[in-house]
Symmetry: C2
């Protein structure tokens, strides 16, 4: 445990993760098992993510809409592989009324208010949406239909972990319907590429993206594509997925359209999503032993100004500070002046460091004459003095630089964390050591994939490229290289 209450990564990576979330005030466990409270500072990051992502989703011609929280139990039985493959751990509503207990001191479930068809709190919305789509779609004129929903999702997880795996989480789910498989497949890739671009441009994260193996795909999909980021402990984190649903759901939900030749056809569908899980990826990618490190684009506060004064010179210092603040605010948004009187300057330094504010400006009396201020970059923790005259533009350049340096760092982590392996021994050795992504050939059989998973705990994350090699497990010739990793 460091003096700032954050366990170091070398001591315990998983405790470090929880300490960062706690000290940066991002989220906490609630009184409801597995459900988190997203605290104001954490939620402000999520709002920035939402805004940036929503822009990119709309640029693909997708419209937002809202569908019911509840799904009739019977809907989940319709698509056989969806129901078989999808986890059956979910919240089930069976009653719709409480009544007062006999002693008048509390409430209990009214046994008379029992639902005939129980309702499931949505674990994903394919079924409830496609039931609706079947009424919306009549002809090719109604296609493509591109809908996105921002919503809360519930999956009854046994073991939960803030952001990474919680019973309730927030996400966006895109659902599109197309005239041809060619067009829907293009949409699947477009969504995947959008996520990768978003991760790079906004979250400063580099990642792999590609098709999943049969056993790792979404229940009910023809193909699933995933984007996979690398955490500092060498484990992968699935960041988002994009599914080619083929005509599977169209057939069971009876979505049909009249094509340009006047014939009735089943359309082709996709779905894709990312969730508050991303928040976990952000925490684990950039942060250090001092606390959270945030890319400026998603930082609730980009620059914090901390005035340093004593009883006698407060007015003088604050006048200068306010001047700096107003100069800066004309060029940079989300500038915060920490005027609190009841905590020390040292406390403020610590607090904003832990919260990952990209740039800290310290202003004391000695800075007044020089017209210079001290700034500290959170990504490198380097101090420098800059002139007040051009402070707006200078800080803007520094923020842009932090954003791009964090991405470069992430690219380097991914590159250095990826190993090309050709023998199973090497594969196992690396997983015992630095871990990371392992690029290896695999024959495509479920037996080899399962054996690798069982013996090493590493799973097939996604397709890498076509080439020529031998299956890492059975040695059979293969033309497909895949990315393996231990994962969250």
């Amino acid at each position: 445990m460091s003096n700032k209450g954050i366990t170091s990564r070398s001591e315990s990576y998983s405790q470090w993760y929880l300490d960062i979330i706690d000290r940066a005030q991002l989220a906490e466990n609630s009184s409801v098992r597995g459900c988190m409270v997203i605290k104001p500072y954490g939620y402000a990051i999520w709002e920035n993510i939402q805004r940036e992502l929503d822009l990119r989703i709309k640029e693909m011609g997708v419209s937002n809409a809202y569908f019911p929280l509840f799904i009739p139990k019977s809907f989940l039985s319709k698509e056989a592989s969806h129901v078989k493959g999808f986890a059956k751990e979910c919240a089930i509503v069976t009653h719709y009324r409480l009544k007062e207990t006999k002693d008048g001191m509390g409430v209990e479930v009214d046994p008379e208010a029992k639902l005939e068809d129980e309702l499931i709190v949505r674990p994903t919305s394919e079924t409830i949406m496609y039931d609706t789509f079947s009424r919306w779609i009549e002809s090719w004129r109604d296609l493509p239909l591109k809908i996105n929903q921002w919503a809360n999702i519930v999956r009854w997880e046994r073991r939960t972990r803030l952001f990474l795996r919680t019973t309730e989480f927030l996400w966006q789910e895109g659902h599109t319907v197309h005239e041809s498989h060619e067009e829907s497949k293009k949409q699947v890739i477009e969504a995947l590429e959008m996520y990768k671009r978003f991760a790079r441009e906004v979250l400063a994260l580099e990642m792999y993206g590609g098709k999943k193996s049969e056993s790792e795909k979404f229940a009910g999909a023809v193909d699933t594509y995933g984007v996979e980021a690398l955490m500092q402990d060498g484990k992968a984190l699935q960041f988002g997925t994009s599914h080619d649903l083929g005509q599977n759901f169209a057939k069971v939900f009876n979505i049909k359209y009249i094509n340009k030749n006047g014939e009735l056809e089943y359309p082709w569908q996709t779905s894709w999503g990312v969730s508050t899980r991303m928040m976990g990826a952000i925490v684990m990618s950039h942060s250090d032993d001092l606390g959270l490190v945030l890319p400026p684009i998603i930082a609730p506060i980009k620059v914090v100004i901390i005035p340093i004064y004593k009883e006698g010179n407060k007015d003088k210092v604050m006048e200068f500070v306010k001047d700096v603040e107003s100069k800066l605010s004309t060029v940079v948004d989300r500038v915060h002046l920490d005027e609190r009187d009841f905590v020390s300057v040292g406390f403020k330094f610590n607090e904003w460091e832990k919260k990952g504010v990209p740039v800290r400006i310290e202003i004391g009396e000695r800075d007044l004459e020089k017209k210079m201020v001290t700034i500290v970059r959170r990504d490198t923790n380097e101090k420098e003095e800059i002139s007040v005259n051009s402070i707006g533009n200078d800080i803007k350049i520094i923020l842009d630089n932090i954003q791009s340096e964090l991405l470069k760092r992430s690219q380097k982590i991914l590159e250095e964390g990826t190993t090309q392996v050709s023998s199973y021994k090497e594969f196992k050795d690396i997983l015992k050591g630095k871990k990371g992504f392992l690029k290896a050939y695999w024959c495509g059989s479920k037996e080899c994939e399962d054996a690798i998973k069982y013996e090493t705990k590493a799973t097939n994350r996604c397709f890498s490229k076509t080439g020529k090699g031998n299956c890492i497990y059975c040695g059979k010739e293969s033309d497909k290289e895949w990315v393996f990793a231990m994962c969250y």
Copy 2:
């Protein structure tokens, strides 16, 4: 039924309401009883509302956060009047797992996966939030705490009606905690005034706002304030509420703080919210027999451009149209060019009229030489010709004018729809005729209030002013005038 598939208001106001929602594609009923699907066009209005409201909420120094969807049943028993007064119709989660049926064809609830303490899908979040607040608040330094949540809410309504009363709805709920009752009461009024300003500035709606009577207040509150709008059929619609919670919840959830004198005290709380019910108010206030009418600020499309061409002159017309579009778009946002080839011009006119787009621009070949275009205002349905040269600024002025004219119209409706009454006979006569708001003195007794409600179906909406008069029902002297109305 008009030729556009919209029932006229005079024929059936309630069917007219549903027709508008259907034809403007705002929302529809889902396969889940009482739960609606908010369609893309309706949701786009909601997004505009959210953005404008969120700005104003943040201006009050409130931060967004997110709390669990589920509330432990035991939490609801804590505040006696909250549980007694609050409707007990809610969705109750009793199980957390499905299993395959024996025939393998479906799923059923796994009886072994039964929760010990059942979970309630939040009908409002006071209890789950304040349980959390009790851990967040320690000293006066943590106050005021001002939190807002955008969330979905479930109340098991018997009779539902799109937007106005649905089992699931979307809302924002603000929850604040203060050091003194004086400060919290100020917050209650600040939120109420914010809603009124928002309604005026954004939704172009005038309304009454004031304290509710004892019997109409929120379960668990010391006082409830409400804002009440008047619909075209003379019925009131409660648009939002703001509650003074006193120390009631603080006491049962054990929220305590150390004040500046070092003493442990219960803080003072408020909560306030508005919901997708507002969408119903928008539909019913401004719209006419031709369809929806939208204030420009919340219109997903402010201006629609409809090109009019034949086979031979399409390129020529479209070149001019694109030029107009780009000129306009530099000044006005949310401009939409309807380029569809497979529907007629008349169909387009109808469609955008029904959807309430504030300004329609028609451009045909004859407009090219004159450099003039025809515009149609949705609020007055008046046509005029305007020059292309200054089209951006001219349309901007027209949009501003529509926004302010709609507010004036709403102010007039409220004014003309309010009657000062001094006898119970007059009171009843007005309710049989034009209805609207009735300002009348009331003695304050529950007996009179209940009798009025039972005999006339009109309820006490909110406090009006202090003065001198006689109770409309019992004739006793009273110093308080109240606003009565039949309501949604």
